[in-house]
Amino acid sequence: MTITEGQTAVAAFTPAELYARILRDEPLFILDVRNEEEFQRSPIEGRANLTTVNIPYFAFIEDEEGAAAQVPQDREIFVVCAKEGSSQYVASLLAERGYQARYLEGGYISWGNFYDIRDVVAADWGRIVQIARPARGDLSFAVISGGKAALIDPMRHIAVYRELVEKAGATITHLFDTHVHADHISGGPALAAATGAPYYVHAYDAIHPIDMLPAVIDYTHIQEGDRFQIGEVTITARWFPGHTLGQVNYRLDAPDGRSALFTGDGIFLRSFGRPDLGGKGEAWTPILYRSLTERLPQMADDTTLILPAHFSSLDEGSADGVFAAPYAEVRATNDALRPRDEAEFTSYVLSHLPVFPAEYVEIKRVNIGLVTPCEGKAGELELGKNICALAK
């Protein structure tokens, strides 16, 4: 595919290749040619050996030689733009000058919509599969056992989940959202419509906290203590209010004694979900405090695997990109669980709230059916990384 006659042909790289290299922490040089604002909003993040430089493509149009001089000649250049065209253009210019350059297939949009799938647990009774969107720091899960599959916090691209479950020879029987998300569009209602499986969410989250309007999607109210059998495993709903009033953790118990807790935005591996996205931070912070200090110890054992809905940094995961840790480890390393009294906790939380993205109010509307965006708008709402955790 060429965009201008006479351009040097250059090869593309895929999001999957990029992510594999990032996880291996290979020395990588990303040349991001989007405008500065877009770059600042959603840079591609990696580990220690990733170098990212932002030189907008129009700098190459304006002063090709000056812009190219800022790019190292002794290493491969991975060029990234918003939709592909400009990165292909810049990669071609660089190739003509003797650089080794490739461009990201589909641009940042395809990176943002890239899903990475890997097993967290594979046992006789079945599997726990992590389905991640690395660009956003979003995590979702499939529990597959005895030909049945429950999905926890499935995201917008529902074909990813349907293919995964079909390939496993199973049927989707339960769709669990830990809460009504503010940072991304849930795949739960669409999967319910496509598969007939019930979509579970807590009724408190079915009211938009800022609009004070009720959900118009079909959902089944999940409550503290509700139990479900998925093949050989049991899943129990545990109410964990704070990030939202209806946040629910799902505890999995397997026949071999293993357990896991899908914590959504209740607690992450190194942080926890901010309590202000409903616009009621001061009122909800004490509720979150009690969930963290009183409810959590009752729903997790030392060996219970904590499986959250987000990560902030790749370093929170294992070398192969699995974001899970036993509760004992999380308790020892997560600042959220450091012993504090309520006043200290409240002042810590309220002084560490990151920016409140305006689109989060709209995304909650989408997730309870008050608004239906087109694909382009949905993609824009979800651009960039989640900001659901407290600031450092």
Partner: protein
């Protein structure tokens, strides 16, 4: 907004609206204004970013107009020297 010439880049995808605009504005007599009509929404932010460092070019104005259900992004570029 008064202008001297029009460049139609409707349907052109990034980076072509800017590539063509750069060329066209360079060919304008000094002091004249080029009206660029694009359908790529990203051109709004990109023209702003480009104009900050572009030589002898001033971005006089931008507007979004709806024509037959389609949004058009219009940029007015002046060759300053």
């Amino acid at each position: 907004m008064d202008f001297n010439q029009t460049l139609d880049v409707k349907g052109a995808k990034c980076p072509m609206p800017l590539v063509k605009s750069r060329k066209a504005v360079s060919e304008l007599p000094v002091g004249q204004v080029l009206k660029v009509v694009a359908t790529d929404r990203g051109s709004l932010a990109d023209f702003q970013g480009w104009a900050k460092t572009a030589k002898n070019v001033e971005l006089l104005a931008q507007e979004t107009v709806n024509e037959g259900g389609q949004d058009l992004y219009v940029h007015y570029l002046k060759r300053t020297a």
